[in-house]
């Protein structure tokens, strides 16, 4: 990850000043004081002087940026509980950038990526976004995993008139009722809930269903939406439960599932939750015909870690190696190949979200820089709004609010360790296997 180059000169200045007091003890005597009157001043000096020096060093004009590189910023959870997906998004974005640079960059100019970690805290996301916008001066932002963080980032980007293409934002509140002409996203919750509901009501046709979700905003909205749509379809829902992320055990919950015997359990939990839940389902031999979860199941690494216990589980994904928008098979194959070669592991749906969002931004930048115009946030945003790309994950076009017009996930089932698309029928590659 490329980043701020602390020039050698400023580093030397900094070190010199920090060690000055040790080499010149007389210097300390100048500021040594009597206890009462002086200790406050003494401590202020010892504190403020190094601080001021460090700050001046930071504030020095940034040298070392090749003047003609195009700078893109991303803010993702690179550490913390969400780091798995944050890093996957980062890798997808990096892949898109490296592809563009390998083909000569944009109009001959190289594209540089500046990554920051938001630690899943909104204030850190805000700080780092400010850093990218003001100190590093990026022309576009991309990435982001959780809506609580994407929201503040999008507001900051709007304030600075910089376009932001969010890779994994889902909730309605980010585009509903707000007009942010600089915010775009390649995914939305409806593209998950609608296929899921249609699949359940058309193909599973359960008499009763259990809904489980986690106490995060995205999963809660999902849980409410699914419950509403299932009730509307006349499905009985004896169990609706919310659990906190980080729960280590589901046996008591599964006891309830055993008691009510629903035909399907829909879980809005995430990857780690399924690792525990699916294993316990199997261990305790719960008679459950179907287990469906939109997040965390349709990942090759899930199948690898769970092994046999993942057989028959249903998941959703926007893309996977082998599952892509009809007509983009060749592109998918070459992407998978290049990615595996570069990172040593196969890409997955989250990676592809990062890749798609970066591709969109890069394409818009390219179009905006035609004719040698100065790259401005408004020009890039305009290009984004009129974008119409066929990418492996989706037919990408943004509507007036920044939502993707054609984002629909597909339902897959894990059969013999592979993903078989079972819904929608026009993309299905197999039949549902009974468990």
């Amino acid at each position: 990850m490329k980043d701020t180059k602390i020039t050698k000169k400023s580093l030397r200045v900094l070190l010199f000043h920090l060690f000055l007091p040790f080499y010149f003890p007389n210097g300390i005597k100048f500021i040594r004081f009597q206890q009462r009157a002086g200790s406050m001043g003494n401590c202020m000096s010892r504190f403020f002087v190094p601080l001021a020096i460090v700050l001046f060093t930071i504030m020095l004009p940034e040298g070392g940026f090749p003047a003609d590189a195009i700078r893109i910023g991303e803010v993702n959870p690179l550490t913390g509980k969400l780091s798995k997906h944050g890093l996957e998004i980062h890798e997808g974005i990096l892949m898109a950038l490296e592809e563009v640079n390998a083909h000569g960059g944009i109009n001959g100019r190289r594209v540089d990526l500046f990554s920051r970690d938001d630690q899943s805290l909104p204030e850190v996301a805000i700080n780092q976004t400010e850093d990218l916008l003001y100190r590093v001066r990026v022309v576009g932002l991309v990435g982001g995993y959780v809506d609580a963080l994407v929201g503040p980032i999008s507001e900051l980007a709007a304030k600075h008139r910089t376009p932001y293409v969010a890779s994994a934002s889902l909730q309605r509140s980010l585009t509903e009722g707000r007009h942010n002409p600089y915010f775009f996203r390649v995914s939305q919750l409806n593209g998950v809930v609608k296929p899921l509901c249609d699949f359940v009501t058309e193909m599973i046709r359960p008499k009763s269903a259990a809904v489980l979700y986690t106490a995060t905003p995205g999963s809660t909205e999902f849980g409410h939406d699914v419950e509403a749509c299932l009730r509307h379809a006349g499905v009985a829902i004896p169990i609706v439960e919310k659990f906190r992320p980080g729960t280590l055990d589901f046996s008591s919950f599964l006891l309830k599932v055993r008691r009510y015997q629903p035909d399907i359990l829909i879980s809005g939990g995430f990857f780690p939750d399924h690792l525990i839940l699916a294993r316990q389902l199997r261990e305790q031999k719960i008679p459950l015909p179907a287990y469906l979860a939109p997040w965390g199941i349709a990942y090759p690494s899930f199948v690898e870690e769970m092994g046999e216990a993942s057989e028959g589980l249903f998941g959703l994904c926007a893309w996977n190696p082998g599952i892509s928008l009809p007509g983009t098979e060749k592109e998918t194959v070459s992407f998978v190949e290049q990615f595996t070669r570069r990172f040593g592991k196969p890409p997955n749906t989250t990676t592809m979200h990062g890749y798609t969002s970066a591709r969109a931004l890069l394409m818009a930048i390219e179009r905006a820089s035609h004719g040698g115009n100065e790259l401005s946030g408004d020009a890039i945003s305009r290009q984004l709004r009129s974008l119409d790309l066929i990418l492996p994950m989706e037919h990408l076009a943004f509507d007036q609010k920044g939502d993707p017009k054609h984002y629909q996930q597909v339902v897959v089932q894990i059969q013999k360790g592979k993903f078989v698309v079972v819904y929608p029928p026009d993309r299905a590659s197999g039949k549902i296997m009974e468990r």
């Binding site: 990850m1 980043d3 701020t4 602390i6 005597k29 100048f30 500021i31 040594r32 004081f33 009597q34 206890q35 002086g38 200790s39 001043g41 003494n42 401590c43 202020m44 000096s45 010892r46 504190f47 403020f48 002087v49 601080l51 001021a52 460090v54 700050l55 930071i58 504030m59 690179l78 550490t79 890093l87 990554s115 920051r116 970690d117 630690q119 805290l121 909104p122 204030e123 850190v124 805000i126 700080n127 780092q128 400010e130 850093d131 916008l133 003001y134 100190r135 001066r137 609580a148 929201g151 503040p152 507001e155 509140s173 986690t214 106490a215 995060t216 905003p217 809660t220 919310k242 906190r244």
Partner: protein, 323 residues
């Protein structure tokens, strides 16, 4: 031979402080420094508030309860009753204070590790309640669109606290300085001496006539009020809150860590800890190591405590006041 030159050091301090404050005015795009400084002051205030209670010997692991209650109290009052955020912030503080009272009534007899555990557990009660009470608090969805702090009109000046980062920074510096004042009083005033006596030996203190329970209550309520205030300010600054965020361990652990890092028994200690570590982390560590900054953070902490067991304030203040 010691040469005491009072004039020189104060002058140096003045020069440094004025350049430090004035510089960003001349450089465009300096919003980030103000933002980081604002948050550093907020964390400093939280660390100072935590320490006010810790000075009585009660180490609390559950200050996030006050923080979260302050945040939600203020945000909900703003949303439902449409009061000005400046009023609801104090309401948030008072709610925090009331929960502190609950702590006092139930944990009165607890000390040491038992007290720490009880405080840790007590965060869950408001957190889960707010998380499940969908109709009133939007539950897990969190509150979004919380009104920012409205502009203040002073004679002919309009200070836009929410949008103008410089003003926001001054506002938070003011807040931190007020908390600092209370903290200084908690260390070096008559009240402070009573607190110290309670910390050292409760039995001896009560034989000297110190009302141990009352001192603990006062410290607890001050600490809870200020932390609740900080939480409310945070909510209005960020514009959105979630139960998992404002009641999270982050806001229980960080004031504690910053306080000990900076020096628990020094008047400036916790504030110093926040002012040093937070900007260093946000401005330097993050840009050096986007994915590994936490390791640097951890390393700094380990090394500092190994060499300065009484906090980094020990070095700055040059002598360690044996408190």
């Amino acid at each position: 031979m010691r040469i005491s030159k009072p004039g020189l050091s104060s002058f140096l301090v003045l020069v440094v402080a004025s350049v430090f404050i004035a510089w960003p005015v001349f450089s465009t795009g300096s919003g980030i420094y103000y933002r980081v400084l604002s948050l550093a002051c907020l964390y400093g205030a939280l660390a100072l508030s935590w320490n006010i209670l810790a000075l009585t010997g009660s180490i609390s692991l559950g200050h996030a309860a006050f923080f979260g209650l302050g945040a939600y109290g203020s945000a909900l009052a703003c949303q439902y009753w449409h009061w000005s955020p400046y009023v609801t912030i104090f309401l948030g503080g008072i709610i925090g204070c009331l929960y502190g009272l609950v702590w006092h009534l139930t944990f009165r007899k607890l000390r040491g590790a038992a007290f720490a555990l009880a405080t840790l557990a007590s965060v869950e009660i408001p957190k889960v309640t707010i998380d499940n009470w969908d109709r009133v608090t939007s539950g897990s969805l969190g509150l979004i669109g919380i009104e920012g702090l409205p502009p203040v009109r002073l004679w002919s000046l309009t200070l836009d606290v929410d949008r103008n980062l410089q003003v926001q920074c001054f506002f938070l510096v003011l807040f931190a300085l007020s908390v600092l004042y209370i903290h200084v009083k908690a260390i070096s005033s008559r009240w402070g001496w009573a607190i110290r006596a309670v910390r050292e030996d409760e039995t001896a203190a009560s034989t000297l006539g110190v009302d141990v329970l009352r001192i603990r209550l006062q410290a607890l309520m001050a600490s809870a009020f200020l932390t609740g205030l900080g939480g409310a300010i945070y909510a209005h600054l960020m514009g959105s809150v979630e139960p998992a965020l404002v009641f999270g361990l982050h806001f229980s652990a960080l004031p504690l860590v910053l306080s000990i890092f900076g020096g628990r028994y020094l008047a400036l200690g916790p504030f110093l800890g926040a002012l040093i570590l937070y900007p260093a982390d946000q401005l330097i560590f993050h840009s050096w190591l986007p994915a590994g900054h936490a390791a640097l953070y951890g390393l700094v902490m380990v090394i500092t405590i190994l060499f300065f067991p009484h906090g980094i304030g020990e070095w700055v203040q040059q002598e360690t006041k044996s408190v």
